[in-house]
Subunit: 202 residues, 2 copies
């Protein structure tokens, strides 16, 4: 009986990775937190590595690994500038993470993810969409970019459902899903919007 | 290392079921096929039961169970008229299945799923939406209901994203996701539309 991870769209990505011939190594960009999906990949035999901006969140992820007899290798870093060689890792994903920056930085980050990926390797990355209930909230700092208050002030960048297609113009299309979900959060129904991409490096 | 099931949205449903206090018994309506998600529930300790219209598909599901040392209990039946007592099972789901009927029959089936569910139990059911690329294809047999050719002629009913809300008016809302996905099928990019509901019986 295996643990269920809340980052549900990554199950599809993992299944595609499992059916790929590329080396089983994976990088998570934005890898921190108390339930790190790198653990799911580790349990499927992947050599894992993670990049995380926040020291506490990185520690939580590594602790989760330790408690499950896994070495997840979550390091402090900046996904806009990965300290990794070109074409050095089989799979890369970034789940609910890359949009915590202005779009100019999102673009840099996606370019970095693509740079470090081996040819034939798969990339999963998702974005907030303009369908999200918080799009428009807070001081606007760019095109659908807002400074919003979570535990501390953070940037959220929102994309039209096709706006990020251009980031992947040199990649092979595998899967795209535009999702509008409603759920109960702190007693109220909220609406969130995400678009998920899975692409292959040529 | 556990198998990944292709019915990805059911991972979220299973996680919610695992966090519920209701008895761990589950019914799958449309349970047949070579990769039955009932196996995932069985591996998490659920007593399973399935209803399937097609004899061959039911056998495939039970064979998968046998090969994995599980007794999945997929039986031939009609989800419009479940041979089960009221409030007799903890959880019910129907994944990519109920829309293979006219809407009058879909309604009957959902009412049956709700009838057999225990109070506090959770239901997952999803529908094709009018965003799907096949909506409008083939002879129209009702409001967004079409007779289409798969391996044999089948009915597909398509729903506006909020159209099925009324089926769940007496249930507690838990989760709803309106998904438009693009993927490669037989060499071409296709667009599919689904809306998934998770609701709780009061």
């Amino acid at each position: 009986m295996s643990k269920i991870f809340k980052q549900v769209p990554l199950y599809r990505f993992l299944d595609l990775c499992n059916n790929s011939a590329v080396e089983k190594s994976v990088l998570d960009c934005g890898a921190g937190g108390a339930q790190p999906p790198l653990s799911l990949f580790a349990s499927h035999g992947y050599k894992t590595r993670g990049i995380e901006f926040d020291v506490k969140q990185a520690a939580k992820a590594n602790d989760f690994g330790t408690n499950n007899n896994q070495q997840l290798n979550v390091e402090i870093g900046d996904m806009r500038s990965l300290k990794m060689a070109d074409a050095s890792i089989g799979f890369v994903y970034s789940y609910n993470s890359v949009f915590h920056m202005k779009k100019v930085d999102v673009k840099k980050s996606v370019e970095e993810m693509i740079r470090v990926l081996k040819p034939g390797g798969l990339l999963f990355v998702n974005f907030l969409t303009t369908n999200d209930f918080r799009c428009g909230e807070g001081p606007c700092v760019g095109p659908n970019e807002y400074e919003q208050m979570d535990d501390e002030p953070v940037i959220h960048s929102y994309y039209d459902p096709n706006e990020a297609d251009v980031y992947f113009k040199d990649m092979e299309f595998v899967y795209k899903e535009n999702r509008v979900l409603e759920r109960i959060y702190e007693g109220s129904k909220i609406r969130q919007g995400f678009v998920d991409y899975i692409v292959r490096k040529l």
